[in-house]
């Protein structure tokens, strides 16, 4: 009894060897994982042409940032991205709410078959259908417009699925109470279901914003002017190695592109991770 107590006590005083190893491993991996970001930040602050020397004696400078700022219509790209992301999110919220509600609470012929088709769309990636979607967007006269970039993503199977699940978990009694008070179907949706699914909406919104802020291939294909080009496409045109732009300038441009989302992430870290968690569990 006494020895047991002693050994327990010793364990408390001396940190477990396993735990020290765990902590060390976790930290080393964490530092390795963010090192590309750290190096790029450091490179962006070096006078151009010297960055790769890994010479820590150089003074830091912001000249790369001013150069990039003046060389590229950055504000325009940034505005385009914000408009695009807002447009897509707005469309998704409306369309997926209505469809999710239909699949969760209404019975109509063919509902289950159609729902399987919707799920199948999770696998028919818009990215894979670029050839045909490009033709469709052009025919609709939407080439090189924000709507043209956004439209293929608005009826998101993922969003419909997520909201259907959320609406299904709302107790029917709540709905019945609202209906007795004279609410229409739209009233029930707006006053009962939407508020109940708030965390799901938040999660979905964050995932959607992050996805479309970062999207590249499709916007590359359907834009061809600085008036619609989002940040990612602007960055790729600017940073392509064959343009011969210096790596510290590329780093500065990269940091400027990712800064808004990165800062938002650092501030709302907990919500972000929680959001991705919630959106991922299906």
């Amino acid at each position: 009894m006494n020895t047991a107590f002693a050994s327990h006590h010793a364990k408390r005083a001396l940190p477990d060897f396993d735990k020290v190893l765990d902590a060390l491993g976790a930290w080393v991996l964490a530092i390795v994982w963010i090192s590309p970001l750290l190096f790029a930040t450091w490179a962006a602050l070096q006078p151009s042409g010297t960055a790769l020397g890994l010479d820590f004696s150089n003074p830091l400078t912001f000249e790369n940032f001013t150069y990039v700022w003046n060389a590229v219509p950055w504000i325009g790209y940034f505005t385009n991205t914000v408009i695009l992301v807002t447009l897509i999110l707005a469309g998704q919220l409306v369309l997926c709410t209505l469809a999710g509600f239909a699949f969760a609470r209404f019975e109509f012929r063919g509902r289950d078959t159609i729902f399987i088709l919707v799920l199948l769309q999770l696998f028919i990636l818009p990215e894979v259908l670029i050839v045909e979607n490009y033709a469709i967007v052009s025919k609709l006269g939407l080439f090189d417009t924000a709507l043209g970039i956004g439209l293929p993503y608005m009826a998101s199977a993922f969003g419909i699925f997520l909201l259907r699940q959320a609406f299904k978990s709302v107790p029917v009694e709540l709905e019945e109470a609202a209906r007795i008070e004279g609410c229409s179907w739209m009233g029930v949706l707006w006053k009962v279901y939407v508020p109940a699914a708030k965390p799901v909406y938040l999660a979905y919104a964050l995932v959607s914003i992050a996805t479309h802020w970062n999207n590249f291939l499709w916007p590359l294909i359907v834009t061809n002017s600085p008036d619609t080009r989002p940040l990612t496409v602007g960055l790729s045109l600017f940073g392509a190695p064959e343009t011969g732009v210096d790596i510290s300038v590329i780093s500065a441009a990269t940091i400027m592109t990712i800064a808004p989302l990165l800062i938002a992430f650092l501030i709302f870290q907990r919500q972000f991770i929680q959001a991705f968690l919630r959106a991922g569990i299906r």
């Binding site: 396993d18 790029a40 028919i124 818009p126 894979v128 802020w213 940073g239 991922g280």
Partner: protein, 297 residues
């Protein structure tokens, strides 16, 4: 009374249809119709101003199979999937175990792992350029310190695909970690205590208790990783452009190239159909798996 009820039911059905219609219309326009149209167009030759496109049957597919680039690109993508899927899953699992353990500065560790997830693939590629640049890049500076000669990581066939793979793993692992983290938090701590009392070591506990409990998460992550191995190609535009000599070219990049650089959309369409078939197989397999799991419950 019965008639009233039926009428009511019909009205509800109509309402349901109307609610779903806008989303279904858009989805048909940008997913179902283009999938069918892609197949249709893959059966025709490429039209020029002089020669209009004519029906060609499966000729475009035969051309693809005869093209040595096809074999290279498919093989590259298989390697890409075969390496990125298991390696990012293993990294994700280790990260989740560490991010869930009681270690100092845990939230820093968690964000460090997760940060690449929120970066655009294009930006990630730019960040890694700094590592891969021959002679001056971070990797060569480190290996040069130990006397190794500089390597053109992105410019030689032997290392180009591997360099692309590393960036993908870096980008993906933190994302998958989240799902493992969520699953780990639902596992009661008593289980570990019980295992310890039974004399199970850490490794035994992980292998015999933890991994089986995490199996549904692993399936979910696996399916996502499979889809990503088709989808994640943005970094090729910055890092290698599929080169040198197709050594790092992946299927979707090739489709883009055929359609938008060489304006050969019939062959791009044929390749798209092959990808859709592969994705369809994945979909069916996943639905089967999920069904099995629900039966089991």
């Amino acid at each position: 009374m019965n008639d009233m009820a039926r009428l009511q039911k019909q009205r509800l059905a109509l309402y349901g249809w109307m609610l779903a219609a806008p989303a279904l219309a858009l989805m048909s326009l940008f997913a179902f119709y283009p999938a069918i149209a892609t197949f249709w167009h893959s059966l025709f030759t490429r039209g020029t101003t002089r020669r209009p496109s004519v029906f060609a049957g499966f000729e475009n597919y035969q051309d693809l199979f005869a093209d040595p680039t096809f074999a290279t690109v498919v093989w590259n993508n298989l390697i890409y999937a075969g390496v990125t899927i298991p390696v990012s899953i293993i990294f994700a699992l280790i990260m989740a175990l560490w991010a869930n353990a009681h270690i100092p500065a845990r939230s820093f560790v968690r964000s460090a792992y997760f940060t690449p997830t929120i970066l655009p693939m294009i930006a990630a590629a730019n960040l890694w350029l700094f590592f891969y640049t021959p002679d001056l890049g971070v990797i060569d500076q480190i290996t040069g310190f130990f006397g190794a000669s500089p390597t053109n990581w992105l410019g030689q066939p032997d290392t180009a695909l591997a360099s692309v793979i590393v960036v993908t793993i870096w980008k993906e692992a933190g994302f998958f970690m989240i799902f493992y983290l969520a699953a780990l938090q639902t596992i009661p701590p008593d289980l570990r205590e019980a295992a310890r009392i039974e004399g199970a070591g850490r490794w035994t506990y992980t292998r015999r208790v933890l991994l089986p409990l995490l199996m549904p998460t692993t399936i979910f992550v696996f399916v996502n990783a499979m889809i990503n191995s088709v989808k994640l190609i943005d970094h090729l535009f910055i890092l290698t452009k599929g080169g040198p000599n197709n050594a790092s070219k992946l299927i979707l990049y090739w489709i883009w190239e055929m359609a938008f650089a060489y304006f050969d959309s019939p062959h791009a369409a044929a390749m798209t159909i092959l990808v859709l078939l592969a994705l369809g197989l994945v979909a069916v397999a996943q639905f089967r798996l999920v069904e099995k799991r629900t039966h089991y419950r």
